[in-house]
């Protein structure tokens, strides 16, 4: 399939392009930075005796095996396939020879794109490029290796392409020297170097020479479209081990002499261990020991079930300081926040005052409950601690921060802690926190033997760090022709990302992190609420609060609530203006043709009947970091049960490297959004969730899934992240569909209520 050559983006100008690469020398590999700064971060990769470190992203074995180094955490999103695919495409590798290996912790792999999104504030924005640069420096120097927010491909696309290109040039030079021809005439396809004529050489046969050559000042990219891997639906590298049960998650690690632990951490908030029945646990077969800390107690046994049973019998009691969290208090706190002094206008365009003055204002109030992660794998880590240091096996989206926290807890220098990054069984943001790794290390040290700590599902639900609960007051003025003349969104919500950063980077206790963020008005809490529509006067205000429930990183983050508010209210305005809901949106999208195209595509594929009464059809649209999507659903009530018969998504996320993996992520996002719309949340009372059984979270099962269609719109734009894109769209699309089905507007999530 012919593909238009992609223009070279300059998004990653500066550090990541320059950090590139030239491996010099032997297997030990010296990295010579390709620019002025950073001058020298040597790659700390290990290499086997037959492997050559080409650069920070690539090792090549003499047998011809291409080993791509990936710093990003695989959580199912396919990143350990997509990033290697970019490199293999540019190198000219045979996909069957490509392997993947996790990156060690190093500044070379800092994700300064996510760092910028997360850490940018009014100060750094005021500084413009200099502020960006400062965050980039901070990210690099602190080795901020982060996975999240769909940033992996936008952040690393150019780095992997450059890494592949550099390797291709070095290999061509090495082969050309042997053949006595000009290296420019050589090329690599399917892992074979050619001299431009009949001669062929295997990559592995000259890789030993390649390191002796130098890169040209300007790195040439592959020309031509023949045999390109980018844009192909290549098989995922993680599939084989995931279909036969051999894939090792944290709980599947087995070490000699290892024992198993379960943990109790008390109710939500500032809870300390007050006491327990030491003797009751002793009768459990296989029980070994209770390990007590200020804020938790773990039981250790020869199998996990015995450890967990021992904890049940020990029946630990905790003292909770401060008011216990409850759903009623959360709602009251959020309502009160609107009257507080910490609210700020964070986005504004035009002048709302004169528009709203004396006019008829349409207003609606919305609310969403905290959304639980409920990844299928509950938090788990395996640890071995000796005099010399510690080894931890865990899945983490912030390995540098996790290692530092573990080292601090053990009183060891960071280098004494080896963190083996594993794939996460879901996560959806949950693995940004590293508590389980610290706990496992402390228990292992106490036991003097390797320990695997597995949180129970109950513990996971109690101690989840869900997405933010939020209340919104939306107001607008409609003009006579149905144009929105003024739009005001006021959102009361704790900032989950600010809290997460305090915990993950600064080691704050969860309740303290929540308190610290109580007065911090931030764009992170209303991300994605700048309307994509052409509205002359609009503003978004954020009212921060501490609701007593520690919150965390989540697939979609603030877009989950923001899009529900925006796309529900737009729909209300369309009906009030008596304009069909899709046309109402499209008339305001003249300046946003990609989003308009998504809307019209979803409507056309879904058989949009205009959202007329009784149709049960609803539509919603959203854009997120260079990706665009619209979702149309058909939904209705069957008795008191919500039934979603069809979901149709149209997505423009640029020129995707592996379109089928992108499609998987869109499908997954739709199902995740469906769960968020109908459940994946609990009520809280007395400092605890009112229920914690997975089967009572209203999570969708196969039988709840009707027809799901995804249309990927062809595009030559740079590939955007897709993990977060469509999940926020499902709840408003269903709410809008239910309005057309029942005439009743549902303004709260979860839509069907939680028992």
């Amino acid at each position: 399939m012919a593909r238009a050559p992609r223009k070279q983006s300059d998004r990653n100008r500066g550090l990541s392009r320059r950090t590139l690469l030239v491996g010099g020398g032997a297997a030990a590999g010296l990295l010579i930075a390709w620019g002025v700064w950073p001058r020298s971060y040597a790659p700390n990769l290990n290499a086997g005796p037959t492997e050559t470190i080409v650069n920070a992203f690539l090792k090549i074995d003499r047998s011809g095996q291409i080993i791509v180094i990936v710093p990003q955490t695989e959580m199912g999103q396919g990143v350990t396939t997509v990033l290697p695919q970019i490199l293999a495409d540019e190198l000219g590798a045979d996909w069957r020879t490509v392997a993947v290996q996790s990156a060690p912790i190093s500044p070379l792999y800092a994700n300064d794109l996510l760092a910028r999104q997360w850490l940018a504030n009014d100060w750094t924005r005021m500084l413009g490029d200099a502020g960006d640069w400062a965050i980039g420096q901070y990210a690099t120097r602190s080795a901020l290796m982060l996975t999240g927010g769909g940033t992996s491909v936008p952040m690393f696309h150019d780095a992997y392409r450059d890494a592949g290109a550099a390797a291709r040039v070095l290999l061509c030079k090495a082969a050309a020297a042997r053949w006595g021809v000009a290296w420019e005439s050589c090329d690599i396809q399917e892992g074979l170097i050619s001299d431009g004529g009949q001669r062929r050489m295997k990559i592995g046969d000259v890789i030993g020479d390649a390191a002796r050559h130098v890169l040209p000042p300007i790195l040439p990219y592959r020309q031509g479209q023949d045999g390109r891997l980018s844009g192909q639906d290549l098989p995922r590298l993680d599939t084989p081990s995931k279909i036969d049960g051999s894939h090792n998650f944290a709980a599947d690690i087995r070490l000699p002499d290892m024992v198993f632990a379960s943990i109790r951490q008390g109710p939500i908030g500032d809870a300390v261990l007050a006491g327990l029945d030491d003797r009751a646990a002793g009768g459990v077969t296989g029980f070994l020991k209770l390990v007590k800390q200020e804020r938790w107690v773990a039981a250790v046994a020869s199998n996990w079930w015995a450890a967990n049973k021992a904890l049940d019998l020990a029946d630990p009691v905790f003292t909770l300081r401060g008011a216990p969290v409850s759903s009623n208090a959360i709602d009251d706190t959020l309502e009160a926040a609107f009257a507080g002094s910490s609210g700020q206008r964070l986005y504004a365009q035009g002048e709302l005052g004169p528009v709203f003055e004396g006019a008829t204002i349409l207003a609606s109030e919305y609310q969403v409950d905290a959304g639980l992660h409920l990844a299928l794998e509950p938090p788990c880590a395996t640890a071995r601690v000796t005099e010399e240091g510690a080894e931890i096996w865990m899945a983490t989206q912030a390995p540098g921060q996790a290692r530092e926290a573990i080292a601090n807890a053990l009183g060891l220098p960071g280098e004494a802690v080896t963190l083996y990054p594993l794939h996460a069984g879901g996560s959806f943001g949950r693995a940004m926190d590293w508590d389980v790794g610290v706990q496992a290390a402390l228990i292992a040290r106490d036991m003097g033997r390797p320990v695997q700590l597995q949180w129970s599902r109950l513990e996971d639900v109690i101690q989840d760090r869900p997405s933010a609960p939020a209340h919104a007051r939306m107001a607008a003025k409609l003009g006579r022709n149905g144009a929105i003349e003024g739009w005001l969104a006021k959102v009361a919500a704790p900032c989950a990302l600010t809290q997460t950063w305090s915990r993950v980077a600064d080691g704050a206790l969860p309740h303290a992190a929540a308190q610290q963020a109580a007065d911090a008005s931030t764009r992170l809490a209303v991300a994605g609420m700048a309307p994509p529509y052409a509205i002359p006067n609009w503003a978004v205000d954020h009212y921060p609060a501490d609701v007593g429930l520690p919150l965390g990183f989540m697939r979609g983050n603030a877009h989950m609530h923001g899009t529900f508010f925006t796309e529900s209210f737009i729909d209300e305005l369309a009906h009030l203006a008596n304009i069909e809901a899709m046309s109402f949106r499209i008339q305001m999208l003249g300046g946003n043709p990609r989003l308009a195209h998504c809307l019209s595509t979803a409507a056309a594929l879904g058989g949009w009947q205009g959202g007329i009464a009784g149709s049960g059809q609803g539509i919603a649209a959203h854009m997120l970091d260079g990706a665009y999507a619209a979702v149309m659903v058909e939904a209705g009530m069957e008795g008191d049960r919500l039934a979603v018969g069809r979901i149709v998504a149209a997505v423009d996320a640029g020129d995707q490297v592996n379109p089928d993996i992108a499609r998987q992520q869109i499908e997954g996002g739709l199902i995740f959004g469906l769960a968020y719309a109908t459940g994946a949340s609990v009520r809280y009372a007395g400092g605890l969730p009112t229920r914690a059984i997975l089967g009572r979270m209203n999570l969708p099962l196969l039988a709840d899934i009707g027809e799901v269609s995804v249309e990927m719109i062809r595009s030559t734009a740079d590939p955007a992240g897709v993990t977060d894109l469509v999940a926020p769209l499902v709840a408003p699309a269903i709410a809008n569909a239910l309005y057309s089905w029942t005439g009743q507007r549902i303004r709260s999530l979860p839509l069907v209520g939680t028992p």
């Binding site: 011809g64 399917e190 098989p235 036969d244 087995r254 996990w304 990844a375 299928l376 879901g426 597995q454």
Partner: protein, 184 residues
């Protein structure tokens, strides 16, 4: 008594008879393909085959497994060659992979009884929870596996484990045989 057969081998667990089968399989037999997801029988990640039934192994004690035949994902096929494993690979079903062993075990029991199930029969048999959202591909993959079982389709989507470097080099021109490489 806690004596039964796991993957065609007789075992006796020296554990509390109340221990759920899941934890005997995982922590005593190191058969870690069977996953813990909830402990309440809801998610199905721990599904195994007991005497031809799909059973959530967190809900069965080893005392109740006495004398029965347990098959886990590790023994479903020796080489990822089960039609479901091949169909899951061909249709690019798995994402994080945590639910997959339970899904495949539940579906394998369904297909053994009925190699041509309807959507409704699939929905009734697969009540496992997946949070990544593999559902839109699931019915199609199970039906495809059914076609393979019925001999209507052949696929080779995922390679067997344990290919030797020499065998790989014979198939893939880009690979060399490590044995003939010069020493460093």
């Amino acid at each position: 008594m806690t004596r039964f057969t796991v993957n065609d081998r007789p075992v006796q667990y020296r554990m509390d008879p109340d221990t759920p089968l899941l934890w005997a399989l995982r922590d005593a037999s190191n058969l870690t393909g069977t996953k813990y997801g909830c402990g309440t029988g809801d998610c199905g990640a721990c599904t195994v085959d007991i005497d031809g039934e799909a059973v959530r192994s967190c809900q069965v004690t080893i005392a109740h497994a006495e004398g029965r035949f347990v098959t886990t994902i590790e023994a479903l096929s020796p080489d990822r060659g089960h039609p479901l494993q091949q169909a899951f690979a061909a249709d690019n079903v798995s994402q994080c992979g945590y639910c997959i062993p339970g899904m495949i075990m539940a579906a394998s029991v369904l297909l053994r009884r009925n190699a041509d199930p309807t959507d409704e029969q699939i929905d009734a048999a697969i009540t496992n929870i997946c949070r990544c959202g593999i559902y839109p591909r699931l019915r199609g993959a199970i039906k495809r596996a059914g076609r393979i079982m019925r001999g209507e389709e052949q696929i080779a989507a995922a390679p067997p484990p344990g290919i030797t470097p020499e065998a790989a080099a014979r198939t893939v021109p880009a690979l060399g045989r490590p044995g003939v490489q010069p020493k460093r």
